[in-house]
């Protein structure tokens, strides 16, 4: 679809007189950098231009009609993403400032009162802190375990493949299932304490009954569940490092430890950035593991933002719930900036 079909004035680049424009849908000066993966491709394009030029006489109306199919191919996605992601996302910014409950038929503008009330009643700052702590711990768990497993299972021999598929199994379970398994293991007389008391006789501790250990447990279980996926992303990243680079480092006398910190880790930065931000951002929206293990307790020690949002929603406080949703969005946007930077860089590489 060219800008003509949208009714906008054509962009400067498109105002080039038609007889000067090569008879190709994307004149060379319009091709963004990312569509030119290598030096050989522009040459290929020249031959296409000639081929194409002989067959279709160059006329601008023809161009927009020829490219209209692109809109038709994208339209199902544009509508579905627009209605079920874009519109709710934009609407949420407004909903957060509405006085809107199931107890009243009138919806009025409330200004900041949803946030002020949440602050005064203690369910704004506390869930933010809980969510951030949860997300950081879960992110660290996923990435330390993921990178560790990837490094340990790097070569891809029979043993490596077997353990890779074993460590991937928790990824397949729903976070709820993971939560129930570990909630059982962490009971006062559960399996974890049985093992600890083999070292410290008579040891018994209610891991999920203590506010601090409950939060740590819930976050680590979430990290445990997803670490297999982070492992695979790191394995892919390690596989992309050319073996010649590693060989060169070996010849220079670098030990395994040195090779990892000074050669492999810098080359793993793309996978690292991707994993760190995706796992962090994903953990901001976590709810399943919390619901399965503690239901937000003890007290409100593990009430992450989404759990609080569900409480407000079930109580019919839709404006208040939207306000908490907006808080999650803000948390994500703050941390997503590095990821967007990464996406841009990736775009250039393509």
């Amino acid at each position: 679809m060219s800008s003509r079909t949208t009714g906008r004035p054509p962009a400067l680049a498109e105002r080039v007189p038609s007889h000067k424009t090569p008879a190709h849908e994307t004149p060379a000066h319009e091709v963004p950098a990312h569509e030119v993966p290598s030096l050989t491709v522009p040459e290929q394009r020249t031959t296409e231009i000639q081929l194409h030029g002989r067959r279709t006489p160059q006329r601008r109306p023809g161009k927009s009609r020829r490219n209209l199919y692109r809109l038709w191919f994208a339209i199902p996605s544009i509508i579905l993403v627009g209605v079920f992601f874009g519109a709710p996302f934009v609407a949420n910014i407004a909903f957060a400032f509405l006085q809107w409950t199931s107890y009243s038929t009138t919806i009025t503008w409330a200004g900041l009162s949803n946030f002020v009330d949440a602050y005064r009643l203690g369910f704004l700052v506390h869930p933010i802190i809980i969510t951030v702590l949860f997300a950081i711990m879960s992110m660290l768990m996923q990435n330390i375990a993921g990178l560790g497993f990837a490094k340990a299972l790097q070569t891809g021999g029979r043993t490596d493949r077997f353990f890779r598929s074993l460590f991937f199994v928790p990824v397949l379970f729903s976070p709820l299932a993971a939560g129930y398994i570990w909630a059982a293991a962490l009971q006062p007389h559960g399996a974890v304490n049985t093992f600890v008391s083999a070292v410290i006789p008579g040891f018994s501790f209610d891991w999920l009954g203590n506010p601090a250990t409950a939060l740590i447990a819930v976050a680590l279980v979430d990290g445990w569940k997803w670490s297999g996926l982070a492992t695979m992303v790191y394995v892919a990243g390690l596989n992309r490092i050319p073996s010649t680079v590693i060989q060169a480092a070996k010849l220079d006398g670098a030990g395994a430890w040195q090779r990892f910190w000074q050669v492999e880790l810098p080359l793993l930065i793309p996978s690292l950035t991707f994993n760190l931000v995706v796992t962090l951002v994903g953990s901001f929206s976590a709810i399943d593991v919390v619901f399965a293990m503690t239901n937000g307790g003890p007290g409100n020690a593990t009430t992450v933002l989404n759990a609080q949002l569900y409480l407000q929603y079930s109580g019919g406080l839709f404006g208040s719930a939207s306000a908490l949703g907006l808080v999650i969005t803000i948390l994500v946007v703050i941390t997503a900036v590095p990821l967007i930077g990464w996406l841009r860089r990736r775009e250039v590489e393509m």
């Binding site: 800008s3 949208t6 319009e30 091709v31 963004p32 990312h34 993966p37 394009r45 296409e48 081929l51 067959r55 490219n67 199919y69 191919f73 994208a74 199902p76 996605s77 579905l80 209605v83 079920f84 992601f85 519109a87 709710p88 996302f89 609407a91 909903f95 043993t159 353990f163 074993l166 991937f168 199994v169 990824v171 397949l172 729903s174 709820l176 299932a177 129930y180 398994i181 059982a184 293991a185 007389h189 399996a191 996926l229 695979m232 992303v233 394995v235 892919a236 793309p270 929206s285 709810i287 399943d288 619901f291 399965a292 569900y310 939207s322 949703g325 969005t329 967007i340 860089r345 393509m350």
Partner: protein, 286 residues
């Protein structure tokens, strides 16, 4: 002498391999094996024996009763049918619409299309705005319906497929498509016979990620499917586990976890080589 050192070295490599295997097993034991054992063995116990869930083999097997309870009271097959009825079409349409749009986005230089592409890619990272989603579904008279849930899942998961596929198509020269068009193929034929086959590995990788996240989705199901008859497997599991009046019946919860996890585990057992290959050789990250 040289053969002696060679044998010696081979012996050392073999020992190192065994040591590595042992270390990995020691890590895998508490990481995967014992949690799964805990799950399985307690799903065989009576409620009393499982009230303190231990790793011990049950003195009295209660397998049939537990699993029958999950299937009957836990409405397991309703959940399974709902999950299949919603997750499979959702995943199919995400892959189908996503790959169609990706072709357009990768080849278009129009600013409108670029904007649509970037906005769609953002949906991978930004969280769901669940309250307005419910509001929109109410206004479309789709709230609490399977179709409303499926449409929401499609709209919020298209981003992954479009991002991975657009990046992949952009690296391919357009010559193949153009040759097909010159030969008189329609746009649809080009998509079906040229673009889709080339995209297969990317779509396979995307499908793995989609299956894991859509099949196990709890968040959207919790908000969008309040009715019991539409509940998916994870929602079913949650309700079954929380409605117990006399503490947690670990034996029944675990039997439900086993049954709920079984469909994906079976698929994984059959396809594990391709799944792990798709994740490590695919284009998940740059």
């Amino acid at each position: 002498v040289s053969t002696a050192t060679a044998t010696h070295r081979r012996e050392r490599i073999r020992v190192a391999g065994v040591v590595r295997y042992v270390i990995l097993s020691v890590v895998a034991l508490p990481w995967v094996v014992l949690p799964l054992w805990l799950l399985l063995v307690n799903s065989f116990k009576t409620q009393g024996a499982a009230s303190v869930p231990s790793l011990a083999w049950p003195a009295h097997l209660n397998i049939l009763q537990n699993y029958a309870a999950v299937i009957n009271q836990g409405a397991f097959f309703t959940g399974l049918a709902n999950s299949a009825l919603m997750a499979i079409p959702a995943i199919f349409f995400v892959l189908f619409f996503g790959s169609m749009a990706a072709w357009s986005y990768a080849r278009s230089t129009s600013r409108t299309m670029k904007f649509a592409y970037y906005a769609t890619s953002l949906s991978m990272i930004l969280p769901a705005a669940i309250i307005p989603t419910v509001y929109i579904l109410i206004n479309l008279e789709l709230n609490g319906t399977r179709i409303g849930y499926v449409l929401t899942i499609i709209g919020t998961r298209l981003g992954v497929v479009i991002f991975l596929s657009t990046g992949f198509i952009a690296t391919l020269p357009a010559s193949l498509e153009e040759a097909a068009l010159i030969d008189g193929a329609s746009k649809w034929q080009v998509y079906w016979h040229v673009i889709l086959p080339m995209l297969r590995p990317v779509l396979f990788t995307a499908a793995i990620l989609l299956v894991i996240s859509v099949w196990n989705d709890f968040f959207y199901a919790l908000f969008l499917l309040p009715g019991q008859s539409q509940a998916t497997l994870p929602l079913n599991l949650y309700r079954f586990a929380t409605t117990s009046t006399t503490g947690v019946a670990w034996n029944l919860v675990f039997a439900d976890v086993v049954l709920t996890g079984l469909p994906l585990l079976i698929v994984y057992l059959v396809l594990q080589k391709r799944v792990l290959g798709g994740l490590t050789e695919g284009s998940v990250t740059g």
